[in-house]
């Protein structure tokens, strides 16, 4: 009887260990309660429209119910909220007539600067190189840290992640990463707070590392 219990326990522990190893290999696991080092964390997000009226300064992120109406911006805010419930987010909606371009990104960054935001994430990408934006980023690199995700699909040219002075975060092995970039082994993330939240996509990597710093 004792032998049987021991054997079953051993089997259960082996299966659990393999499970944990596979999870760590295929996911970035974040325990929300242990991740926040700062009670008054304030971060910036530049993205497109949200699905609802909102203030540009968001103290308490209201989670959207349902899934079909969520925008890219909604999903980023939801991710940030699940990562740290007490975070304060300065959100700049850079979308005008359905388009986000380099000049709107610069406007957003200037707004972050005026509000003394030190960390900003941009989970957007384009193949267009803007000399003006590159100059802005280099000029202000000591004041504001910009995190940008590489696209989910591989691009030989991928901005803003490829700009100098930007911390690009990606998961594709073939990306020609800069020295300050972060290459993750996966773009699948599990956040565990009261519940378990699973996210997939490079969009979440920039906010993850911005929050994690």
């Amino acid at each position: 009887m004792m032998k049987k219990i021991l054997r079953n326990t051993l089997v259960a522990m082996t299966v659990l260990s393999i499970g944990v190893l596979l999870i760590l290999q295929n996911y970035i696991v974040v325990f929300s309660g242990f991740s926040s080092q700062n009670d008054n964390l304030t971060v910036g997000v530049i993205d497109g429209n949200l699905s609802r009226e909102h203030s540009n300064i968001i103290n308490d992120i209201e989670l959207m119910s349902g899934s079909k109406d969520k925008t890219h911006g909604d999903l980023l805010l939801e991710f940030i909220k699940n990562y740290d419930d007490n975070v304060k987010v300065y959100y700049f909606d850079a979308e005008v007539d359905g388009i986000i371009n380099s000049s709107r990104i610069i406007e957003g960054l200037n707004w972050m600067l005026e509000n003394d935001i030190e960390r900003v994430c941009i989970s957007l990408s384009s193949t267009y190189y803007s000399d003006e934006l590159q100059k802005w980023l280099k000029k202000n690199q000591n004041v504001i840290k910009v995190y940008a995700s590489y696209n989910n699909v591989l691009n030989s040219v991928d901005y803003p992640a490829q700009y100098k002075a930007v911390i690009g975060v990606g998961s594709n092995k073939e990306v020609n990463y800069k020295s300050q970039d972060i290459q993750c082994h996966t773009n699948s993330i599990i956040i565990i707070n009261n519940n378990m939240h699973v996210y997939r996509g490079n969009s979440y990597l920039a906010p993850l590392y911005m929050m994690r710093e």
Binding site: L16, G19, L22, I23, N26, Y27, D47, G48, H72, A94, I99, I100, N101, S102, I105, S123, L124, S125, S126, T127, Y128, Y129, S130, S149, Y150, N151, N152, V153, L154, N155, S156, V157, N172, K173, E174, S188, I190, M196, V198, G201, N202, S203
Partner: protein, 284 residues
């Protein structure tokens, strides 16, 4: 609760194991570039034409660009036999800061790119989900691939190929083709820190005319490089059998030995033509 989480985690793991994206990159001398996840190969064929080929699932695109900027582009979906489109492109300029491309189908203009912004749209998007199956390949994507590869530039309807690639292509050509290619002159273009040459050979007479117009020329030997300067009625600088090279002055790029036009006092005339020659020197 723990049991539910375990079941959920194992379920997610199983799904993930079957859906993990796999990337592979071929290791060859062609330039491989990615546009929106589509892998394009940019290479030179035996006739020194530029071939841009991209594949995504059943979608295949291939463009062959001739030395005069004329190109044929085929975009097809291999799954559907009739879904095949052919375009003729007239590429007058294709550089990172200048674009002038006319796209025709059945002798009618269907698309024109006159600014860089029309090829590289100043538009940002949230990272999309990894597309299942093929991504539709567009004309703009093929042009982007050609620009990214930085293997060639088109200026005023003339295609100039990075000299290292052109030199390698000549060296690996058949003995007959190689011997013939090395007798001629080639229009040259200084492209940032690189030198690019048109693969369309020109005669000595045309090369002399070109240096008289203060335009650069490439040839395979120092004797050829000097002779066009002399026959144009100039003296050459430096005066020896070996030209000068600027590789030690700069940090990185592709450099070639070359001659300048010389003055009566044995000084070089800069900001004029270069008569380049020989093996390219790559400085990293």
């Amino acid at each position: 609760m723990k049991k539910t989480i375990s079941i959920l985690l194992i379920g997610i793991l199983v799904i993930n194991l079957f859906s993990s994206p796999v990337y592979a990159m071929e290791n060859n001398s062609n330039e491989t570039v990615y546009v929106d996840g589509v892998e394009f190969e940019v290479s030179l064929n035996d006739d020194f034409e530029i071939v841009v080929r991209g594949e995504s699932g059943d979608n295949v695109a291939q463009m062959i660009l001739e030395s005069d900027g004329e190109a044929e582009l085929e975009i097809e979906n291999e799954e559907i036999d009739e879904d095949r489109q052919e375009f003729e492109l007239e590429i007058n300029d294709l550089k990172m800061n200048e674009v002038n491309v006319e796209v025709c189908q059945d002798n009618e203009i269907v698309e024109e790119y006159t600014t860089v912004e029309e090829v590289f749209e100043d538009e940002y998007e949230g990272q999309v989900a990894i597309a299942a199956g093929g991504i539709t390949i567009t004309i703009g994507m093929v042009l982007e691939a050609l620009l990214y590869a930085a293997l060639a530039v088109v200026v005023a309807g003339v295609v100039y190929i990075v000299v290292t690639k052109f030199y390698s292509a000549v060296e690996s050509a058949t003995a007959k083709k190689k011997k013939k290619a090395k007798k001629y002159y080639y229009p040259a273009y200084i492209w940032g820190t690189k030198v690019a040459v048109s693969p369309k050979a020109i005669s000595k007479t045309k090369a002399i005319k070109r240096v008289k117009q203060k335009r650069s020329v490439y040839s395979f030997t120092s004797a050829l490089a000097r002779s066009i300067i002399v026959q144009a009625g100039y003296s050459y600088y430096p005066t020896g059998s070996k030209g000068e090279i600027n590789s030690s002055k700069k940090s990185g790029g592709i450099y070639l030995y070359h001659y300048h036009q010389g003055t009566k006092n044995g000084r070089p005339i800069h900001n004029n033509f270069h008569s380049f020659y020989g093996v390219p020197v790559v400085v990293k």
